[in-house]
Symmetry: C2
Subunit: 747 residues, 2 copies
């Protein structure tokens, strides 16, 4: 599967290590207990008492359509520009039960429906049915074109949950992975669900919760009211004591400048007023803002304004704290940025698009694993991005974004251990990869076809011509991901095909793009000729994909990553990967300084959330411009929050090496800090860690960990045996639910 040159060494990245581990486990049949454990974990995660259920992915797609079509731009509806799918209007739900004693079962559905017991239909749609003792099968078939067919079943033991089976056609209960004869794995086809555990919590009526927030300050500017909520926020503006006849215009600003610039602010709302007595009114649209500039027309008065802050009610599980207060502040603002950008789904930013973008979402997933660790938002976002067959374009129309989607599914499995989700979605992975596969050119490489957007990054002068190395690199990773997932889904033939294809593509990648002169992968090949252009993208990804050998890695660090002549990256989006690559090379001290400069730089400019793009060379309100618009830039963009991930994975150093943290690694790296402490979420709870130059304390609620440290002298630990691996590297196995204290001498 792997090129010999690229065999992982001692600094193996988690991903590659895991891959090897998994395949070994699979081959040695040691994997079975993991599967069982994962299946159990998955049940624990998704099954609950009783809950509204649906065809997997259908509610998610419907809800994402609702959310994404709330975008407006200066008052105009601004929908997405890719194919939008629908739920299946007709769905059958069924399950078999074995009852010790008879029970009364209440049944609700959204839509027109019929109920069958053991194949015989009840007359009408009874609110409750009697199920006798013994083995019985219940079928509920629901039709609903407007909103997804959903059901809610509650008896003493019979309840609707993710163990029900669903289908959109009666004849067969066929696994989504298809009918290929090589399918030896168990067939999964479980209902989708979330947390609608009460019959009154109808899925189609779902709204994010709100909480009232008062303004931080308000002032009169040219006779209008300018209200400041003190920091970036999101919600419905509430106007108090409104009276009279006329209109009220709300100009929103992420900056004071934007709110006051009524001709250029990105978003606004207009409210018609005709009220004889003073009353409060809530604007029906929720918007991103720090400031709102309230301009009245006609004979309208109002008292003051407040906000109904709208949010996804997710609790933080992870944490990070250290001796450097600037870093702590960066971490706190990153948290807030990710929370604001985590709504019904992981979105890009809160002001403008409010859409689900695969490249952006992929980063949110990774940050999420170190903060809220909310599986549901990951799954929902994954379903929404993928949409339905047939595949008629790349995800978000962007070639790179298709590949991030594959990586996201795999990472979700790794962090959550939820194999069921992966297996259920193997069919969707395969048909998306089929789409990509059929678009290869005569060289077996990908280049932009009509309708494809080659994004990579927002960067001026970035060539999108010809066969771009970065896209082939992601394609290779996509094929590797498919090989792994095919194996997990029991599709051995597919796995062999994808493995071979990945090996071949990686060989091409190096033979075409590697330049001994530049000591780097060059950017592209145009008309059969590799260009001399070197960019950071393919080179930094090849580091943490572990595609380079040790020599190449060290060469690229100097020739590309630390080379100021290679065009710099100005988005936190690609800084994420740049800094990850440097961390993977052990450059935590350098990255910490970069983090303080870059994210600290935004804080010094007064940022209360992190931005879509930051160029330290700009001044004042120049910072707010983007896309040729004065306030086009989003000042709260999920990809700005990457310190959450970097600090958790590369400083606290915690990452899973087997699904659901059944195995994991802890490689703390202070990177110049005196001490740090934090929590990293796992499916079973938090791994807690304290680390100074002299002492490391660990407690973990899950699996088997491996603490890897470098120390001048052999570390001391009462709770376990420290093993020397040579070169000042030591290892300690971490068992479940025990407190470890390790004394050592940092290098």
């Amino acid at each position: 599967m792997m090129n010999k040159n690229n065999e992982p060494g001692s600094d193996t990245t988690m991903w590659l290590y895991l891959r090897r581990t998994l395949v070994q486990q699979y081959r040695s049949q040691l994997f079975k207990p993991f599967v069982l454990l994962c299946a159990f974990a998955s049940l624990w995660l998704t099954a609950s008492a009783q809950t509204w259920i649906w065809y997997p992915g259908d509610y998610e797609i419907w809800l994402s359509n609702e959310m994404q079509n709330r975008r407006t731009e200066r008052g105009t509806f601004y929908p997405v520009f890719w194919k939008v799918d629908s739920h299946y209007p007709l769905v059958d739900f069924h399950k078999e039960f074995n009852l010790a004693r008879p029970e009364t079962v209440t049944i609700h559905a959204e839509g027109q429906y019929s109920i069958k017991l053991d194949g015989r239909a009840f007359s009408g749609t009874p609110a409750a049915i009697e199920v006798p003792a013994g083995k019985h099968k219940i079928n509920i078939k629901v039709f609903n074109q407007a909103t997804p067919p959903v059901v809610f079943v509650k008896g003493q033991t019979i309840v609707s949950d993710s163990s029900w089976q669903v289908t959109f056609e009666d004849k067969e209960w066929i696994d989504e992975t298809g009918k290929a004869s090589d399918l030896s794995a168990t067939v999964f086809k479980h209902a989708g669900s979330w947390n609608f555990n009460d019959v009154a919590a109808r899925p189609s009526a779902y709204k994010l919760p709100v909480t009232p927030v008062a303004a931080a300050s308000a002032e009169k500017v040219n006779g209008a009211l300018l209200v400041d909520f003190g920091k970036e926020t999101f919600g419905f503006v509430k106007l108090h004591g409104v009276k009279g006849k006329g209109t009220i215009s709300l100009y929103y600003g992420e900056s004071r400048e934007e709110a006051l610039d009524t001709a250029a602010s990105e978003t606004f709302d207009r409210i018609n007023v005709d009220m004889s007595a003073a009353a409060d009114t809530i604007n029906p649209h929720s918007k991103a803002l720090r400031y709102v500039h309230i301009v009245t027309n006609g004979n309208v008065q109002l008292d003051h304004a407040s906000l109904l802050y709208e949010y996804a009610p997710l609790q933080d599980k992870g944490n990070f704290r250290c001796n450097d207060e600037e870093v702590n502040k960066i971490y706190e603002v990153s948290k807030y940025t990710l929370h604001l950008s985590t709504r019904e789904f992981f979105i890009d930013g809160i002001k403008r698009d409010r859409w689900i973008w695969s490249g952006d979402a992929y980063q949110s997933y990774l940050m999420n694993y170190y903060l809220m660790n909310d599986n549901e938002t990951v799954k929902r976002t994954t379903y929404a991005l993928r949409g339905k067959d047939p595949v008629t374009g790349h995800i978000n129309t962007i070639m790179d974004y298709t590949f991030y989607w594959f990586m996201g599914v795999y990472d979700y499995y790794l962090y959550s251990g939820d194999k069921d989700f992966l297996v259920q979605n193997y069919g969707r992975m395969k048909s998306l990869m089929d789409f990509v596969w059929n678009r290869r050119n005569k060289n077996g490489l990908l280049e932009g076809l009509p309708g494809d957007w080659i994004f990579i990054d927002w960067a001026t002068g970035l060539s999108k011509q010809g066969e771009i190395s970065f896209e082939q690199l992601l394609f290779a990773r996509g094929l590797e991901t498919m090989a792994l997932c095919a194996e997990l889904a029991g599709r051995r033939q597919d796995a062999e095909h994808y493995k071979a294809a990945a090996v071949e593509l990686k060989q091409k990648l190096f033979s075409i793009y590697w330049s001994d002169k530049a000591k780097a992968l060059v950017h592209s090949r145009v008309n059969g000729q590799p260009t001399e252009n070197v960019t950071r993208y393919a080179n930094m990804f090849a580091i943490f994909f572990n595609y380079f050998n040790e020599q190449q890695k060290q060469a690229v660090k100097t020739s590309v990553l630390l080379n100021k002549n290679v065009p710099e990256i100005t988005t936190p989006y690609m800084r994420f990967y740049e800094l990850e690559a440097l961390c993977a090379l052990g450059e935590q001290p350098y990255v910490l300084q970069e983090m303080k400069n870059y994210w600290g730089g935004m804080l010094k400019l007064g940022a209360t959330s992190f931005w879509e793009e930051y160029d330290p060379s700009k001044k004042g309100a120049e910072h707010y411009a983007m896309y040729g618009r004065k306030y086009g830039k989003s000042l709260c963009h999920a990809w700005g929050a990457s310190p959450l991930y970097l600090l958790g994975k590369y400083y606290l150093g915690v990452s899973p090496t087997a699904p659901g943290y059944e195995q994991y690694e802890i490689k703390p790296a202070l990177g110049g800090l005196k001490w740090m402490e934090g929590k990293v979420p796992t499916p079973a709870g938090n791994i807690e860690l304290y680390c100074s130059n002299k002492e490391i304390k660990i407690v973990a609620p899950v699996g088997t960990g491996k603490l890897i440290i470098t120390s001048k002298t052999k570390p001391v630990c009462k709770e376990g045996e420290v093993m020397s691996k040579g070169n000042n590297v030591y290892e300690l196995m971490i068992g479940k639910d025990r407190k470890y204290t390790v004394r050592y001498q940092a290098m």
Copy 2:
């Protein structure tokens, strides 16, 4: 393309003849004027002043879901058991205009929408926009999950109609036929529309019209009211003078027995009443009935009942009349049967399923071409049956029904000349055939796979095992149809592929199934062995598909069609094809007697519409039973109306031989009648015909016809030159808009 043995002779069927003609025309470039003519005809048929428009097929699918999910069985919701699709929730409509002077354009949509002029969005959603003089492009983008996105545009010259382009993804305006490089034909991608020409006629609010009908009689039976509407009908029962508190149950009956049998009637409704003053009430569900048995419970009184007859407002264009009053009555009841079964779509029957079944619809199409000739109902039904990609099962789950769908698309083109529809749907044809193609067994033949229903006909003891000759025959015809349509859609490579595949399959068909001993195609091959079982199905279809040579045809007539030892057909569904095969062999006198016996037999039993099945050996209420239920049989079933088609096509003898009747054939056959007269609709109006033993009169508003008659002496016609073809066969070319009178001596 064709097996030499099967080269059509002088009695070439229309279909084969046409195929040859078309291909010749195509090759000789004579085809172009036809394309232009067809394009013009198509515009004339579909474009109108201004009309609501949508993504083609989407409104049709949505409406069919609404209609099909109205089925109830004894009060229980009874949905279909195959995949149901949705409209695209987000659709972009656009068109470019070149204005001589500025104009104001009003715009309406169902859904949330934005409007762009030359790529620039208007703020909000203005009800009207100003379009300056010159060349401009309007885009309207609509989002609607509940009902299909539709728009209505009206200016002085700018109006919404089928000339607008639509897409469900912005990036490309790609023809549905795909992106293959062999695509040389013009790209079609036109908006769908119907007749919603007024802004107030919102498509999502569409309902069939109703008209009040009084009961024919009423009587008291055991204290309840039994109302008779005098004949089979359909609609909403209206109760007059309802008063009191309690319930009213309406038991519907296609027969008196069914209405009175409250425990077994197929459909009923219950109405809760709580009215202090007498008032009228209309039951919200429309039902099939001749009788309604009204049973009250509690203290409820009512005065009498009437009906709001619900119908599709289609006018008859075709007609048939002859000297035999029984045949005239059969024709009239056939008309009524087809009208009742033609609702929003062509459905199977009005009592029970009220679903769109491809095999049933295919026959309705053919009858329609000789009666109402309504293109819109054909197109709507074709879209609804096909649904959307991906194809996950056969149409209606039935293998045979998939093939009727292909034949239906082609026939529509032939009768209407609407090439646009065919080209626009080539992509849907291809993906459906891909589905079939991928399900061939190792012999390249089709047999039932899990989820497939092999229907053929309702007949006891009919084997569905192994490789059934009838299915291979339909498959071959499907491949031929694809070859023709691929050529019309400009997909030459596809056409070559399908042609070769059809030839190969037809060779297999004869080498495997033809039995010299039985002088027939045998029914099936099981485990590699042809069975000895002979059934009528493959043999009769092979006649009018012209797959047999002349010898085989004559042999099969005796060995199968007129052989009482071969199991008889008991459904009008397959009698349709049996009688068509006999007509194609010139057996009109025999078929006329069969028609009088079979359909006349139902009339003698008091039928006011024709039935799903008729077995003359049964007695009394036995006739109403089917599917193991006392009143399971539908007494108004579209497939019962086939005399409409047989009399039009094989007695009046009129059929198109080029698309849209640009060329056609008239082969009158009195079949024992003294005289007959009638009208056959064409896109340009009716062909009118009178025929006795001595005289034929013709007037036609379209194309070029060929009158083919056999006569003892050379016919005389002042209006044209009669040519002798030998064997007492004579031909006369029929020009447009001239009256022809031909005197001859019938053989």
